[in-house]
Subunit: 345 residues, 4 copies
Amino acid sequence: MTLPQTNFTPPFNITRASHLVFTCRDLAASRDFYTEVIGLKVTDETATTIHLRGVEERAHHSLTLKKTKDQAACERVGFRVFTEDDLDKAKAYFDGKGIASKFVNVPFQGRTLHVSDSAGTPLEFCARMKTLPRVQTRTHEHKGASALRMDHYQVLVPDVLDAAQFYVDLGFRVSDYICVGDERIVGIFLFRKNNPHDMVFLTRSGPRLHHFGYIVQEMHHVVRALDAAGNLGHAGSIEHGPGRHGHGHSYYVYLRDPDGHRIELLLPAVQIIDIDDEPMRHDVKGGNTNLWGLPPPRTWFEDTSPLAGAKIKSPAVEGDPFTLEKYLFAQRAEAPSEAPLKKRA
Amino acid sequence: MTLPQTNFTPPFNITRASHLVFTCRDLAASRDFYTEVIGLKVTDETATTIHLRGVEERAHHSLTLKKTKDQAACERVGFRVFTEDDLDKAKAYFDGKGIASKFVNVPFQGRTLHVSDSAGTPLEFCARMKTLPRVQTRTHEHKGASALRMDHYQVLVPDVLDAAQFYVDLGFRVSDYICVGDERIVGIFLFRKNNPHDMVFLTRSGPRLHHFGYIVQEMHHVVRALDAAGNLGHAGSIEHGPGRHGHGHSYYVYLRDPDGHRIELLLPAVQIIDIDDEPMRHDVKGGNTNLWGLPPPRTWFEDTSPLAGAKIKSPAVEGDPFTLEKYLFAQRAEAPSEAPLKKRA
Amino acid sequence: MTLPQTNFTPPFNITRASHLVFTCRDLAASRDFYTEVIGLKVTDETATTIHLRGVEERAHHSLTLKKTKDQAACERVGFRVFTEDDLDKAKAYFDGKGIASKFVNVPFQGRTLHVSDSAGTPLEFCARMKTLPRVQTRTHEHKGASALRMDHYQVLVPDVLDAAQFYVDLGFRVSDYICVGDERIVGIFLFRKNNPHDMVFLTRSGPRLHHFGYIVQEMHHVVRALDAAGNLGHAGSIEHGPGRHGHGHSYYVYLRDPDGHRIELLLPAVQIIDIDDEPMRHDVKGGNTNLWGLPPPRTWFEDTSPLAGAKIKSPAVEGDPFTLEKYLFAQRAEAPSEAPLKKRA
Amino acid sequence: MTLPQTNFTPPFNITRASHLVFTCRDLAASRDFYTEVIGLKVTDETATTIHLRGVEERAHHSLTLKKTKDQAACERVGFRVFTEDDLDKAKAYFDGKGIASKFVNVPFQGRTLHVSDSAGTPLEFCARMKTLPRVQTRTHEHKGASALRMDHYQVLVPDVLDAAQFYVDLGFRVSDYICVGDERIVGIFLFRKNNPHDMVFLTRSGPRLHHFGYIVQEMHHVVRALDAAGNLGHAGSIEHGPGRHGHGHSYYVYLRDPDGHRIELLLPAVQIIDIDDEPMRHDVKGGNTNLWGLPPPRTWFEDTSPLAGAKIKSPAVEGDPFTLEKYLFAQRAEAPSEAPLKKRA
C-alpha cells in the first residue's frame, strides 16, 4: 500500500474543518452539555435549532443542533473554502467528475454547496458565515472547558486509502498514517490548515462519524470541564481519558453528548507547514497505543454517530482493537493479588 | 454504629504521617520510578538501601527502599511525634496498655519506637530526623511530578471502628467517614495535621497497605509525571485516574511502583482546624463514587502491599465494590452501538 | 538581636489567622472586586455589611466589609482559638498581664474577645462561627481566583521583636526571619497552623496593616483573576506581580481593593510541623529580594490600611527599601539603548 | 491612512516566520539562557556557532547564534517559502523590481536567498532545512519554558505603511492594526500562517528588531522558565510581564538575552483563516494598553537589536509611549499613603 500523493494545485481551495450539523432528541439536555461542560457559546436559538461557537471563533457557528424525534445523527460535515469563487470551482469540479452536488441556503452562511465524499460522508462547503467578535479573552464569562474552536473530524470508513484519495485530490496533505503489519495502512490523518488536523480516517465499517474535536487552551480547562460534568449530572458522559495519545499527538479526553455524539477535547496540536515536514508512519503492533492512559473501552471503538443518508459498508479486513476490557482481563486473569501490575502490552 | 470520640488530651503528641519503609526486589527499577516519575530526591544510597524525600521536605527521608529477595512488603508505617519527651510518654502509654513496643536505632532518625496498632499495622515513631535544605523552588532540578511531601496512608482492615479507636485515643480527629446502608461505617479518614489526611481505614481483609499519598503542587505536575511514565517505560504503572474523588476530596492518580506498591499523587487537600469543622458523613449507594473519572479497576480494590508480620483477618461483612469491570460490562451489555452511554449508576 | 523563644505550653490555644473586618466607602465596588476578581462567596449581606468566605471555608466568613463615610480602615484582625475554654483562659491571661480585653457580640460568631497586641493591632478571638458546606469542588460556580481560604496577615510595626514576643508567648513559632547587616532583625514570619503563615511583621512605622493573603489552588487561578480584573475595570488594582518571592516562599500577586486595602493571592506554602524544622534566616543586602519578578513599587512599601484606634510610632532605624522606581532608574540611567539590561542588584 | 490591500495571488509563496540569526558576545552565556530558561534544544554546536530549535520543531534550527567581538546584532530575519520553485520566483520578482538579492549557502539549509525589505530589514528565504524528529512529547527532557516553536518578529520602522506594503504585496494579510487619533496607523500585525502572527511593525526609528516570539504550551511553562531564570542567575533578564496583552492578544513575558536581544514567550494565538475574518482596528488613547499587567518600562520601548547593515531613519511623528516609569510617577505623585491606587489611565 502506498500513500496517496498530495495535489499541490488543487481545483479549489478548502481551508479548514469548520462546522458540524447534528440532530438530537433533547435540545435542552444538549444545550446544557455544550454550554456548561464544553463551554460553547449560543449564538442563535429557536425552539428547534441551536447554533453554537467556540470562544475564539469569529464565525457564527461551528456546531448546529437540530431537534429530532428520530435517531440522532450527523447531518453535515462542514468545511470552509477560501472565496466565493472557490465554491464555483468546486461545483465545476464535482460536475466534471460526475459527482452530484447542489447549492443550498443555510442560515447565517453564504452560498453553501452540498456534496458527499467518496466514502459517502455528507459534506458542505461555504466561503462566508456571519461573524461576531471573539470572546476568548473574556474568561470571566467562560464555562467548563472554554472550548476555543472546532478542530477536526474522525470518520470510520471501510477503505481509508479510497477515502483519503478524495481529499488529497483536493489539496489535503497527510501528516501521519498508521500501519498494521508490513504494509496495511489503517489510519490516515489529513490537514489543510497549519495547526492540524482537519480530517482523520480509520478503518472500520462506515462511513460513520467517530468523533469531532475542539481545541482547549490548557489542560486545566479540561479539568474544569470534567468538574462541571461531575457536578451537573454529566459525569457519565466521560468515556475515555484524560490521557495522552501516542504518535506525538496531544492530550485528550473523549465525552459523549446526551445523544451519544462523541466530542474530543484536545490541546493545540503541532504546527505543520513546511514541505519537508513529511508524513510520519506509526506502526501498531497490538496493545495500548497511548503515550499514557488506559486503552479506550469497547464503546469507543464501536459506538458512532450515523451520517445522514450514508450507506454502511464493511472493510475487507476486520480489525481487532485492543480495548480497555481486554487490558483489564489480562491484568486480572494473570496477576496475583500482591504482585505488580503486568507490564502493559 | 457511632464514630469514636476524639481524645483532645492525648497521652502523647503525634504530629503527622511522615515516612514509610518498603522492601523491593529491584532497587534500580524502583529508583528510576520514584526519581523520574514521582520526582523524589535521593538523599542517601547504598547497595541495599535508598532514602528519598519530596522536594519540599526538610526531613531526610519520607520513603526508604530496601532490597529484598523475598516478596516486596511494607516494613514500617512512620509517624512523627513532636518531641523526644513524647516518645517517652508513648512508651509509657503502650507499656501501661500492655502493648509491646521497643526503641530501635534507625539511620538518620532520632530515637525510634516500634509498635503495632490494634489492627496489626507495624508503626514507628520518632521526633527527630536529619534535616536538609528544602529544594521546592529549584524547579529546574525537578523531575516528573515534583512530589512535594508525604501526605497520608490508606490501610485495609477488617474492622475500621476498632482500628480507628486506636488512633482517636491518640488524638486523631475524624474528617470524613463512609457509610453503607443506614449505619454501617466502612471507611474512616483520620488526621492530626491541619492539611489532612494522615491515616485512612477502609473495610476489607487486613491489615494490608492499600496506598500512600504524596502531594503535588498543581495538576500539570501530575501530567508531567504521566508523560515521564509514558516515555520511560512506566506507562503500565498507571492504574487509576487521573480523576477527582467524590466527598469533596482532591484530584488523584494512582500508580503502582515496580513492586506493585501503590502511590497516589494528589493535590493539596482542604484545611481542617476548627473544632466546629465536624466530620462529614458520606453515604455510598453503589455505583461510581468519583466526582468524575471511571471507577477503579479490580486490581485497585484487590491488590495491596503486605504489612510485615501482620496477620490477616477477614471482615464480618464482605464488600462488593463497584469496579471498572462492572461499569464497562453494564455499558456494553445493554447499550446499542449508536445510543449514548448509559447514565452512570 | 536574638529571636524570641517559642512557648510550647501557651496559656491558651490560638489555632489560626481566620478573619478580618474592614470598613470601606463603596460597598458595591468592594463586593464586585471580592466576588468577581478574588472569587469570594457572599454568605450574608445587608445595606451596610457584607460577609464573605473562600470557596473552601466552612466558616461563615473570613472577610467582613462594613460601609463607612470616613477613611477606610481595618477594624479587627481575627484569630481562632480552639475551644470556648480557650477564650476564658485568654481573658484570664490578659487580665493577669494587665492588658485590657472584653467579650463582645459579633454576628455569626460565638463569644468573641477583643484585645490589642503589644504593637497596638486590634485583635479578636473566637472559638466558633456558623458553618456552611464547603463549595471548593463546585468549580462551575467559581469566579476569578476561586480564593480558597484566608491565610495570613502582614503588619508593619516599629519594633518587630517586641511585636513578635507577644505572639511567641502565645505559642506562635517563627518560620523565617529577615536580617539586615549582621544582627538587625527586620522581619519575622510567625505561625500556628501547619501550612504557614499566620502573622508576619516587617519594620516600618506602625502598627499598620500591610496586606492579608488568600490561598489559591493553582497559578492559572491567579491568571483568571487578573483576566477578570482586566475585563471588569479592576486592572488598576494590580500593584505588584505576578512573581515569586525569594526565601523559599510562594508565587504571589498583590492587588489593592477599591479602598486601597491590599490583598495577596498566593499558592499554598510549605508545610512546617516538625520541631527540628527550625527558623530560616534570610539576609537582605539591598536589591531585589524576589526569586523572579520586578521589585515592588513605592506604593507597596508605603501604602497601608490604618488599624482602627492604633497609635503610630516610628522605628528606631528607618529602612531604605529597594523599589521598582529605583530599579528602573538604575536600568535606564546607565544602560545605552542597545546594551543588555544591567544585571540586577 | 488606509491599510494596504492583501495580494491574494502573490508572486511566490512565503509560508511562515521561521528562523533568526544573531551575533552575541558570550556564546556560553547565551547557550545557558536559551537552553535552561527558554528550553531550546541545541542541534549543532561549534566553537563559534550554535544552532537551536524549539521542542516541537522538525526544522533543524530556528535560532542561530554566532560569536562576535563587536556589538551584538541580528544578522538575518528568516522566512520559509513553500518550494524550491518559490525561491526562483522570488529571485525573478526581486530582479523585476530592481531589488538586490542573491543566493547564498547556509549550513543545514537548502538554497537560501538574501534580500532586504523596503525598510531595510535583512531577510533570508529558504524552502528546505535539515529535519529532525520532534521532541515535544519527551517532556522529561524539557527545560525552562519548553519553548515549542518560533512564532513572529516585531520590527520598529519609521513608516509602518511602507514597511507593510512590501509584505502585503507578497501575500501577507493584516490581522490587526493600531491607530492613534483618527487616522494615523502606528502598528500593523501581518501573517501568512493560520496561527498568526509572522511579522509586526510598530512606528519608531528603524529598522530595528524589537523582539521575536516563541510559543509555549501553557502558562505554567512561563512560570517554570522564570523559576529557572531566578535560580540560574538570569532573573535580571525579565524585562516586562508576565501579563496579558490588550487587543485580544495572548499572555506574554519579555526577557532580554545576555546580549540584550529581546524574546517574548507567549501562548498560542487565535487562528485566523477565513476571508471574512477581517483586520481588527485598535485605537490607542494613551495609558496602559494591556488587558492586565503594568505598562512596559522605558527599556522595552527604547532598546532593540541592531539589524545588520540597516540604515536607521526616524519617523515623521515621534511617539510618546506610556511607560512604566510614567505610570509609577503618576501613582506616587498624587496618591496619599493611605488611599487606593489611582485608577489607571
